[in-house]
Amino acid sequence: MTEIRNIYKPIKARLEKTIVESPTIKTFVLIPEEEFSFKTGQFIELTLNGLGEAPFTPSSSPMIKDRIEVTVMKAGYVTEQIHQLKGGEILGIRGPFGRGYPVEAFYGKEILVLGGGCGFAPLRSLLYNLMAEKDKFKKVTLCYGSKTPEECIYKPFITELRNTERFEVLRTVDQGDETWTETIGVVTVLLDQIEVDIDQSVAVVCGPPIMMKFGTIRLMEMGFSEKDIYLSLEKNMSCGLGKCGHCMMGDYFVCKDGPVFRFDEVKGLPDIWL
């Protein structure tokens, strides 16, 4: 008989190491006690014993099953406690939950990935997935924005992407410094620079709500159909199971029906950008 995992009970994961991505963002490499599979775009509930749990989307490759990376921005009490971890601690993982990116639906297409700040985390998982199957896609373009060059995360990964055939990376920052030689401005400025075959493309957007709103508006102006814009709306998720109602958005539970939504599914809902 196949064992069904208890969705309420976390599995243990040892913190192997911490990677400092920026002054406020760290990536935590976790080794689960058993093989852990997830689809890119799904999320997990990360438990700190005695403190609580919070939802995060893995930023590692879904192809790797014996380790999982979670990128955390210091934003509140739980994330501040997570940032204090040094290595060797035992955390808990529940999940994976929710609906991830429909990667099979992207086969044969050009993919435009638009990310901002820590929203790059789920997108990195998606990009790893796309790199692993790169022959199935026409082209992948990443447009990524952050506040400053210091806040640009995953720098080694960016280099790896730039060295991958058929992958293009454009970056921008709100405020540059002496060393910054790429674009300055909001991430939508990068959309003026790319050439996409709109009819053969899909767009994937993840980042702060403001960025997602303006990014989506600009994509629509470029000619993208609402059905071809995918948003990762990680809003107010708590239980991960569609029980607490915290993440309700119209008729949807973000934790069950999302966090990945097509724009045509949610565009009529109030406050989707909040």
Partner: protein, 219 residues
Amino acid sequence: MVVVSIEQNMNIFIDLLYIRSIPSYFNSLKWEREKSSPSLGESLPAGRQGFRSGVKSCITFAFKIYIMIKNIDELKKLKFFKEFDDATTEKILEISELKEFKVKDVIIEEHQELSELYILVEGLVILGINVPAKGRINVDTIHPGQIFSWSAIFPPYISTAYAIATQPVKVLAIKASELIELMNNNHTFGFKIMKIIGKTLSQRLADTRFQLVNIITMT
């Protein structure tokens, strides 16, 4: 690529019409050999000096025209010219000049009087504002194909931001007064130019609002 202006080269060509004939040149050479060598350019008979300079200018002129013709096809591919037929594009190019700037060159200073509309051909240009007690703050980037110095078309023709090259830059500089004259003489053409500028400003306004809202919600 070579910086060239059609007007400048026409002046050179006209100068050539005043150069002495070739026999006179050789006579002056003979006179030269009988004298001690003059310092360059000072004691040379006017005819020889003028002819030499004329020949040099001719060769340079021909070379520059060659380079310009070679580059016109490249310039026509710029997004700006997508709306225009070849004849209109060439009319615009006739009142334009290709300019080059090095890294960190200030192409436009803030609050400067402007006389040219620029289209970025190659490189990257940063736009920004000088802020009291903070210095220069960069707010936007111009990429190839985009226009800047649009204030040259609208009174009071004063720049609203500085523009600095962050990479080696080539711009097509269109003489604003002549462009405005073309627009006044041909309203269909004028409308197309205004559409291009309007679209550019609309996108920059949307991006600026995005930046503003970003800052407001972060504080």
